[in-house]
């Protein structure tokens, strides 16, 4: 059995842990945080303005057109939904597999999931032509016949998948927070604080009964979330895979999308965690280089998986003998004889997602904060482009060449993409200051107290 390094460094006592983790919540924010928050908030306000303009004037502001019926909104939706995957994977699947290292990053990864899903969730609602009628997408008893939704449409499955996922991951996250809220309540030095955290902690008293119920609920929720990790992106991939379009209509999409989602999710976790380590230096003892290394290994592995998927798509396109599909993939890569208008995006995607993460074969790179930060940013860029490649290159040159046309990228597309980060970051920064960013209750059990460190294992 391999010897593991200690999960928590610095010989912390239980009090140290509580103090360290509660510190950002209980002190006034520093200049760094305020600066970042103001930036993020301004971006969020800009984002609200952009969305308002789009709703007020019509989808025509964006670059979507004929034949590219979907564009930035759907691309960015899939991007954020994908990011959300890491959180649930870490908190649910790794929990079930008893991966104790998850405890340090689980809370923040879950928060990231919730915020990413919230950011993502807006897109499919706002990308419709008449967003004020979006409630028609939900099956509910009505006076129009009653007129029901089309259960054959993958978009409808998507509505269920995303809303279920959002609900479950939010509940899971919240349940995990309950004991920590109680800790914060107990430590509160004024009434209002005490009251707010008191309400949030749902009357948690820390009794054995409480703990027993809590553990059971957490386990059940972990069990519920686990299939969701696979199902959400599988169903998102159905939006593409179930349709007719060459480049979309492939059976590899569900696993390929899930792998890609985990890939991008872990990249985002790494990005955020490096930032959290810089912003709150005391967290370096909890989110150690070992944690980061493990995640980097996952990034490299999933990066290889998406790389395999890219290659396999080409093979299948050739093997199928389907001229339309062959053309789409040749066109993606810009092979001569095709228009190759978006070959640049394909090669950005391959570079960022397949080539750059290979640096993690080297241990020093896996353990270097600057390297992993840069790689994670590249992976985020690459994964956005993956969705761009899938959506646009398949749509822009499909069956009848007379229809072929390029995406009409506009100012509003860029504004929307950038603005969505404003929403995500604002939520995330607020979270860092009002919620304990690491699970106090889960950290304490993984302390090396009472274990023989020198004999390895646990």
């Amino acid at each position: 059995m391999m010897k593991r390094n200690q999960l928590i460094l610095g010989d912390k006592t239980l009090k140290d842990i509580t103090d360290d983790i509660c510190q950002p919540v209980e002190t006034l924010p520093g200049k760094g945080w305020v600066g970042m928050f103001l930036g993020a908030k301004t971006l969020l306000l800009f984002y609200i303005f952009v969305l308002g303009m789009i709703v007020a004037n019509g989808m025509g502001l964006l670059g979507v057109n004929h034949p590219n019926g979907w564009g930035t909104m759907i691309i960015t939706f899939v991007f954020w939904i994908g990011i959300g995957h890491a959180g649930t994977l870490i908190s649910a699947i790794l929990f079930l597999f008893r991966q104790k290292w998850r405890t340090s990053v689980a809370r923040t990864a879950e928060a990231m999931t919730v915020f990413a899903v919230m950011t993502a969730g807006l897109f499919p609602l706002l990308h419709t032509g008449r967003p004020w009628l979006d409630f028609w997408l939900f099956p509910y008893p009505n006076q129009r016949g009653p007129l029901w939704v089309n259960f054959r449409s993958p978009l409808l499955w998507d509505v269920f998948a995303v809303s279920t996922y959002a609900t479950v991951s939010m509940v899971f996250w919240y349940v995990g927070l309950v004991p920590d809220f109680a800790t914060l309540k107990d430590r509160a030095k004024n009434k209002i604080r005490r009251m707010i955290y008191g309400i949030l902690s749902l009357g948690w008293r820390g009794t054995a009964r409480n703990w027993s119920h809590y553990e059971m609920v957490y386990l059940i929720l972990a069990g519920l979330s686990t299939p969701l990790v696979l199902s959400v992106h599988t169903i998102v991939s159905f939006d593409f895979a179930v349709s007719n379009l060459p480049g979309w209509h492939t059976t590899i999409f569900p696993p390929y999308f899930v792998a890609g989602a985990i890939f991008s999710g872990f990249a985002m976790v790494v990005t955020l965690m490096t930032l959290v380590r810089i912003g709150f230096p005391q967290f370096k003892d909890y989110i150690t280089l070992d944690h980061m290394e493990v995640m980097n290994k996952i990034i490299m592995t999933t990066g290889l998986m998406v790389g395999y998927a890219y290659a396999s798509e080409f093979f299948v396109a050739w093997y199928s003998g389907n001229p339309y599909e062959r053309y789409v993939f040749m066109n993606r890569a810009g092979i001569p004889g095709t228009s190759g208008d978006y070959a640049w995006s394909y090669w950005i995607m391959v570079t960022c997602n397949v080539i750059i993460p290979q640096i993690f074969w080297m241990k020093w790179a896996r353990r270097s904060i600057p390297v992993m930060f840069i790689v994670s940013i590249f992976v985020n860029i690459g994964m956005w482009f993956e969705r761009f490649v899938i959506t646009i290159t398949s749509l822009h040159n499909d069956f009848l060449p007379s229809n072929w046309g390029n995406y009409a990228w506009s100012f509003w597309d860029g504004a929307l993409l950038v603005g969505s980060f404003g929403m995500f970051l604002t939520l995330f920064l607020l979270y860092l200051r009002v919620f304990p960013a690491i699970s106090i209750a889960e950290i304490k059990p993984v302390l090396p107290v009472g274990r023989n460190d020198h004999k390895g294992g646990h």
Binding site: G60, N150, V159, N244
Partner: protein
């Protein structure tokens, strides 16, 4: 204005009267409240009045807006607003007729036979009106020439009626002394007429019109000219004067012959775009299509083309030339026929032979195999008497235009076509000339013109600035413009008299000699306008000049009726009662027989040819100005019609612009690409134009469309493209539109053109199936690659009707009339250049144009594509809200109300025929353009998807009619808008479940295939393969259909 005041006044009086009628409130002074009251103090009286604010009898709102009732109202309203919070859509009430007008049933269209005339060609049409307003031009199947065929501009004509930029009342322009600045004021007809009559009486009257084909109009103009001793000048850009001059020289008869393409088995066109813009393209398209349907007796068309014209695109053999080669082509054919093959009696004529031989080997230097000339000559001779050689159009207005026509006439005489495929007795009507205009300019220079009356033509736009029309106009004391808008010319006229739209006035047309057609008004004049004829009649009446008939009638309608009674019916009518004949005319729309023409061959004056000088060979770049089928010469009102600008050019698919088309080799030579701006210099004229690389052009050619660059046509058309009439050269008193020498240089600038189709190759996919005639005769249905298809699903069951459409690609010429017809029928929005560039045009039917072969000798094929109404429709399964569903009759129905706009359906449609409302287009349509909407089709809001419905409103109408008459629906009773507009009957619609229906039979024909058939969406539209009669064994360009099996 005064009327308006009166009305207000009336209203006030009523109010006073009402107030007076109200019961008085008596104050009883026996019982008093205070001293004030007893004394009837006015101050106190006020407080008493205000005491009972609630009395409905008091009108105190002005004094105290917060009176109790008002307060309650406002409170109620704010409560309602705050609780409901959303803004409700404004309630719009539909008010039925209080009194039923005669002949109008609400919701049922009325049709009137009429004629559409565009300056060159007249076609018989039906005007469809709803509740008293014209909404569409429909096909009139018994029209003698076009036989129901329509064209792009006639389909868009209805929009010019509702053009917001039309003049609504007479205007007077007051100029400063130098006539450089002006002020426009409104004026009444009475004052205008009085002032103009005074001017007319002074003499020196010139009347400038366009081509007039209306015999009644001609009579009015003749009477007017007689009365005021006026000189009538008829001028058009597309005058076809070259043909008449050629006829005059060769045959001593000044006629514009009526060409019979329907009788021609072998047609050679030298730049005469008879399917697009030449003489009578709609009529010729109809005629041509008849010779293409029977494959055992199929005609052949050879086109020598110096731009890429519709005729070139549809020709079996197309040869790219430059304008200076036109004469060489004609001579080469003549040499081959007469000199080399010794055909006809002219082969013995030494004079002819030596003249022809003086050209040397004329076929050298043309882009064709030497064998082709032999083949063409052989085909022509084999089909003598049933062949036709034509030349003309703007592209043929070169320095050698006259020689070209004479040689063409010679060829037709050699081939015994004269009097057979060329009818000169039943000739077409054309009085317009360029020489008339030149004479008018001279008269203006000599200050002979005192009063110039201009009707509709637009010399300020269509004459180059160097013709100095503007300067010469200052020599004219009074300029009167009769037209529909303040255009470039009207801008400089003293009086601008608004004319009725052609749908607001009676008129007629002589289609060919002895065949007349009536033009009926379909709506009362919308504004204070009157017809040109009535204006002339009024002037004659007021001045008491001219023949009796022009003074005696009060309206032009009376004049016209009288003219028909005295002049037309005696010539063509069957005699008998005039009223009866008149009613019959209104029913049928026309009178006279096209076919009873017994023309013998005229003798060709050999000297007309042998006297011609041999032109010198031209080198270097050559200009080709051509007119387009969308705008024509662009000088009229059509340049302000959004539908026409948004209609992609049939060949280039560019919208909202003109541009310089050059070949790929030329572009490489100049080191330019699409959208690069080049500067072209013709003589002293310079112009910068964007480049469009056009396959199939001769490498020295720079082809530019005319009709663009209007400055005073209206909000839609102003500033679209460039006015290329500035490049027209005048050489030896002759207008030269093509063949002028050009200097070209790249400027390095960019100007983006909007194209609706940017990819031009079929990528080896089976999209348009094309075969040569020989191939088809040998292989029959094996020209189509068929895929084995099976499905686990039995499919939809259609127990009643099952609608289907068959489109014959062999008939389709790509003319695009169906696109405009669809736009008119289905209220389709125009989005403008910026959004077409972003790929957001809204056409429900589009014409895909692909090129095959090499870029040098590209051959074009056309394919109309609309919603294919698939049985296994991919759009239906993916819509999350069931907004697009399958009907029990096989229609793919779009439910606009239910659509939330996910656009998933569009993504999943392999044909990409769905159109999305990216913005609220309908809202931006100005009044009165909204009156052009078809009330049977809803307009779409932003955010919903739309697409072809197979004209479901027409299906319903047909079914309802059959049901009311208690009979089964007949095959062919329901016709879609694209189908009726088509001049070649390429589209057939009907019930596939009825085995005897035309469409069911066509579906089983050997040329029938479905687009992307192997994808098994099972479309309800099937195409019929295109057959090329080029004498080859195989389509040279056909690349094997890749994969998929």
């Amino acid at each position: 204005m005064s009327e308006f005041h009166d009305h207000n006044h009336d209203h006030d009086e009523n109010l006073e009267a009402k107030k007076a009628a109200r019961p008085k409130i008596e104050h009883n002074n026996n019982y008093w409240l205070s001293i004030d009251q007893y004394m009837q103090d006015p101050e106190f009286q006020k407080t008493v009045d205000a005491e009972f604010m609630s009395s409905p009898l008091r009108e105190e709102e002005e004094k105290n807006p917060w009176a109790r009732r008002e307060f309650l109202k406002l409170m109620g309203a704010s409560l309602a607003l705050s609780t409901a919070s959303c803004i409700r859509r404004p309630v719009q009430k539909i008010v039925p007729y209080n009194k039923q007008p005669e002949e109008i049933t609400f919701g049922v269209p009325n049709y009137y036979t009429s004629t559409y005339f565009d300056g060159q060609e007249s076609i018989g049409v039906l005007v469809k009106t709803r509740e008293g307003r014209p909404i569409k031009l429909e096909s009139l199947v018994n029209a003698p020439l076009n036989e129901g065929g329509t064209n792009v501009r006639s389909q868009a004509h209805v929009l010019s009626l509702y053009d917001p930029d039309r003049l609504t009342a007479p205007k007077k322009n007051i100029f400063n002394e130098k006539r450089t600045n002006k002020d426009t004021i409104s004026i009444t007809w009475e004052n205008t007429d009085a002032a103009i009559v005074e001017e007319l009486k002074k003499g020196g009257v010139y009347f400038l019109t366009g081509n007039i084909v209306s015999p009644s109009s001609q009579a009015v103009v003749k009477d007017f000219a007689e009365g005021f001793k006026a000189t009538h000048v008829a001028w058009e850009v597309l005058a076809n004067e070259d043909i008449r001059k050629g006829q005059l020289a060769s045959y001593k008869t000044d006629v514009l012959p009526f060409y019979r393409f329907d009788k021609a088995k072998m047609v050679v066109s030298i730049d005469a775009d008879f399917l697009g813009t030449w003489v009578a393209p709609t009529v010729f398209t109809k005629q041509y299509s008849k010779t293409r349907k029977d494959f055992s007796n199929m005609s052949r068309v050879v086109a020598f083309d110096s731009n890429y014209s519709l005729t070139g695109a549809n020709a079996d053999i197309r040869v790219r030339i430059k304008p200076s080669q036109q004469l060489k082509v004609a001579v080469a054919i003549a040499q081959e026929l007469v000199v080399n093959q010794g055909r006809s009696s002219y082969a013995q004529n030494g004079e002819v032979k030596s003249w022809l031989s003086s050209f040397g080997k004329a076929a050298d230097g043309l882009n064709m195999e030497p064998a082709l000339v032999k083949e063409i000559a052989k085909d022509l001779w084999d089909n003598r008497g049933e062949s036709l050689i034509v030349a003309g159009g703007l592209k043929a207005q070169t320095e050698t235009a006259h020689a070209l026509h004479v040689v063409v006439n010679f060829l037709n005489s050699v081939l015994e076509n004269d009097g057979k495929t060329i009818q000169y007795k039943k000739s077409m009507k054309s009085s317009a000339t360029h020489s008339g205009m030149v004479a008018l300019l001279d008269a203006m220079k000599e200050k002979k013109v005192k009063t110039l009356v201009i009707h509709t033509v637009n010399p300020m736009f269509a004459l180059p600035a160097k013709a100095e029309f503007k300067e010469l106009l200052k020599n004219v004391e009074t300029v009167v413009y009769i037209g529909d808008r303040m255009n470039e010319t009207a801008h400089w006229a003293h009086y601008v008299l608004p004319e009725n739209h052609s749908m607001e006035t009676w008129s007629d047309a002589e289609l060919v000699s002895g065949v007349y057609s009536i033009q009926q008004p379909a709506i009362k004049p919308m504004y204070d306008t009157q017809s040109m004829e009535l204006t002339l009649m009024t002037w004659c009446f007021q001045a008491k000049v001219g023949p009796k008939r022009i003074q005696e009638f009060e309206t032009y309608y009376d004049y016209l009726r009288n003219f028909w009674k005295t002049d037309v019916f005696p010539k063509v009518g069957k005699g008998g009662n005039f009223e009866k004949s008149w009613q019959e005319l209104l029913q049928t729309g026309s009178v006279g027989d096209v076919n009873n023409s017994a023309d013998g061959a005229r003798s060709f004056a050999v000297s007309s040819m042998t006297e011609l000088k041999k032109p010198v060979d031209a080198q270097g770049w050559e200009l080709v100005l051509y007119s387009t089928s969308q705008l024509g010469d662009g000088a009229g009102s059509s340049a302000n019609i959004g539908w026409l600008h948004e209609l992609p050019d049939p060949i280039t698919k560019v919208v909202w612009d003109n541009y310089a088309s050059i070949s790929l080799a030329a572009a490489n030579k100049l080191k330019v690409k699409n959208n690069s701006v080049i500067e072209i210099t013709v003589g002293k004229d310079k112009m910068e134009l964007p480049v469009l690389v056009q396959p199939g052009l001769q490498d020295d050619v720079i082809a530019v469309a005319v009709g663009y660059g209007r400055t005073h046509v209206g909000a839609v058309g102003n500033g679209v493209g460039k006015n290329t009439y500035e490049l027209v050269q005048v050489q030896n008193g002759q207008m030269v539109f093509a063949g002028a020498k050009v200097e070209v240089k790249a400027t390095g600038a960019k100007y983006e053109l909007a194209q609706t189709q940017t990819h031009h190759s079929m990528q080896g996919r089976q999209i348009v199936v094309e075969a040569t005639l020989k191939e088809y005769q040998n292989k029959k249905d094996h020209i189509i690659h068929k895929h084995p298809i099976w499905s686990v699903w039995s499919g939809h069951q259609y127990n009643g009707h099952k609608w289907g459409m068959a489109i014959d690609l062999n008939s389709c010429t790509g003319c695009s009339a169906c696109m405009t017809a669809c736009q008119s029928e289905n209220n389709i929005a125009v989005v403008g250049k910026k959004y077409v560039m972003q790929g957001r045009e809204m056409h429900w039917i589009r014409i895909d144009r692909y090129y095959t072969g090499t870029p040098e000798d590209a051959s074009a094929v056309f394919q109309p594509v609309m919603c294919q109404h698939c049985d296994n429709a991919p759009c239906e399964t993916v819509c999350p809200v069931l907004a697009t569903v399958h009907s029990s009759e096989g229609l793919n129905e779009m439910v606009y109300n239910r659509c939330v706009g996910t656009r998933y359906c569009s993504n999943n449609c392999p044909y990409k025929v769905r159109r999305f409302n990216w913005f609220n287009y309908t809202k931006k349509i100005p009044a009165p353009t909204n009156m052009a909407f078809n009330p049977d089709v809803t307009v779409r809001v932003r955010g919903v998807m739309e697409k072809c419905t197979f004209c479901v409103q027409r299906i319903k109408e047909g079914k309802n009619k059959a049901k009311l008459e208690n009979r089964p629906l007949q095959d062919g009773e329901i016709k879609t808008a694209c189908q009726t507009s088509c001049p070649t009957n390429a589209i057939t619609f009907g019930d596939v479940n009825d085995p005897n229906s035309q469409v069911a039979k066509l579906f089983k024909a050997d040329r029938s295939y479905a687009l992307l058939e192997e994808w098994h969406a099972a479309p309800a539209v099937r195409y019929m393969a295109k057959i090329k009669n080029n004498g080859k064994e195989q389509i040279a360009s056909a690349s094997a259909h890749e994969g998929g099996h």
